[in-house]
Subunit: 352 residues, 2 copies
DNA sequence: CTGTTAGCGCTTTCAT
DNA sequence: ATGAAAGCGCTAACAG
């Protein structure tokens, strides 16, 4: 009485079949549902300890792994998150991604990465199909641009999502860093050294973090009685280089310079070097991106170290909260944030 | 006669249900299987053109998206790949990851990223559970370490996989770059400039790319009549720094230096600067990692630009081939590879 | 304490 | 040219 295998289900050729719940059940001689309960720890309706043991033993022996697809289909939960990141090379995103991946793994989720092209960016809602298709339970949106229109994205209205390191058009779904705090650290440092004029070289104003740094700089400089000059340029080496070039052509620079991204730092340094402007002799420099390599440059660069991994982790937590149906509020990650003093910021020249 | 909804299936609270195949079917007044056939283009048993139109229209109108979970469960295909990458900050991996993500998207796969801790690394087979659970159809293994034992990983034997940028213990599943070609570019450049002695500062010898570069350097230097010194150090700024420090303490350096990673480049440059060894006056330097920032340093760094995005794309293709059941052979990505001459490599000092 | 049953949403063979 | 039916592997409400 060999059971005939149903002919209409094709096996993936050559691969040996995975162990299923029913295999465990029939080996132990219980019903599949019992196995399911035991393996999921649903012992509310309690199961005989002996049966539990036998099931656990069998499952372990055969290396049983539940089929995530079947489980997800039944539970209406994919156990996956989608992380939408801008397509840039920058250590910032690596650290953010890492923090998110680690926390997601801890919480039993896998993470799919989608890279958003920097030119011709799609609206965040363009990724909601992943949730509609049940591939993911929610979206981590880390695309950098501020929304022009500021009206909530229709396609996202029914999809759990969180904006990471940028604010979105809707309230209560942002997880961002304390950029104002970073500016405070920067201004406190250079003001303490005696600087009176500040220059911020940063990325395009459409980038939300850039916008927040610019606003904070203007406001805080006003409060502290410092003059503030703000220049936006592409977040590249060439962008930083050109920005300083242009400013130097117009006159002397403010003595304290903050730079938004590490790429720009390299460009800024090159332009200052070309013009023989000494760092930190003539101008002081502080980077808002931290990377170890900055400590090994000709002039080691003082920088602000932001809690990027913590940001990623917090974003995952916030998203899971929303997936679980609980609402949430905007999250501001403040700690740990520090200024790594390396010597590129010193007192202003005495003549100034 | 309102149909009672089955009470035992809980809806995800507050979220509106996705459109299903049956919804389209009942709206159009046909059987779900017909809709399935039409939407999948299985018109082998031909369907009336009018019906096709109505189904397509309805699906479009309601924004129908097939449930990827249900489809995957039925088809025994998750439509997902897992990319296992080492946990390092380095532009190399960003470019590799990008190439892989883009190609996977083109081919209709989503990609999950798993980061492998650098210290206490797990064997690649530790990720095969993702395939067993049907979360992914195959594994892209980009962990950097060479396997000590060199015996095939048991847990991977039934799992489609490809080793990326490293060779694995089994034959025919590697997709790697032409490191020997990179060395050839390097040696050709410096030999052409007149150098006779070469120093390679690279990462730990357990890293497969490092190993291949070291072997190629020894072999090619012998063939060209160049002396070769090879030093392994951690792939960090501090590692590069310390390596040069130690060598300088022991005597003069070979006049041509190749450096394995960008982090080490920064360390090497700092150590040379500290010791007042001029670049390219006293020693020439070439980096095996390319990054735009290298063009903006004090001394712009000549580097080898490897086809990393192409590597990622080729790895995805190779993996999908294996998932589809076809075997495969090792792949060597040679092009496009170039030496970006920036000035850190020049003729050796005349005294030497 | 455990088994029965009814699906999750989709695909596919078979029958008409 | 289309419908019926079965089932991917798992879970959960309900019934003993």
């Amino acid at each position: 009485m060999t059971e005939r295998a149903p002919r209409h289900v094709r096996e993936p050729a050559g691969r040996n079949r995975a162990v299923r719940l029913v295999d465990i059940a029939s080996a132990v001689g219980v019903h599949p549902s019992t196995v399911s309960r035991v393996l999921n720890g649903h012992l509310g309706h309690s199961v005989r300890p002996e049966t539990v043991e036998r099931i656990l033993a069998e499952a372990r022996a055969r290396g049983y792994r539940p089929n995530a697809l079947a489980r997800a289909l039944r539970r209406h939960r994919a156990g996956a998150l989608t992380f939408v990141v801008p397509m840039v090379r920058n250590p910032t995103w690596v650290r953010l991604q890492r923090g998110a991946l680690l926390r997601a793994a801890e919480r039993g989720y896998v993470v799919m990465i989608m890279e958003e092209p920097t030119e011709d960016p799609k609206p965040p809602g363009a990724y909601s199909y992943l949730v509609t298709e049940s591939r993911a339970d929610g979206l981590l949106l880390a695309t950098a641009l501020r929304t022009g229109g500021a009206q909530p994205d229709e396609a996202l209205s029914t999809v759990p999502h969180v904006y990471v390191n940028r604010r979105g058009p809707d309230q209560g779904d942002d997880v961002v860093l304390d950029e104002a705090g970073a500016i405070r650290l920067f201004l406190g440092h250079v003001a303490g050294l005696g600087h009176c004029g500040v220059l911020l070289i940063d990325g395009p104003r459409e980038v939300d973090t850039v916008h927040r740094r610019a606003v904070a700089t203007r406001r805080q400089c006003a409060a502290l009685g410092l003059t503030a000059v703000i220049r936006h340029a592409p977040a590249t080496e060439a962008g930083g280089f050109a920005a300083i070039r242009r400013l130097l052509a117009a006159g002397p620079l403010p003595t304290a310079i903050g730079v938004g991204s590490i790429e720009q730092v390299f460009g800024v340094l090159a332009a200052l070097r070309d013009a023989r402007v000494a760092v930190p002799g003539a101008v002081s420099l502080v980077s808002f991106d931290e990377d170890e390599s900055l400590g090994y440059l000709d002039v080691p660069i003082t920088s602000i170290c932001m809690p990027l991994a913590e940001l990623g982790a917090a974003a995952v937590d916030a998203l899971i909260t929303r997936i679980d149906g609980a609402g949430g509020t905007d999250v501001l990650i403040r700690e740990p944030m520090s200024l790594v003093a390396r010597g590129s910021a010193g007192p202003p020249p005495t003549g100034s």
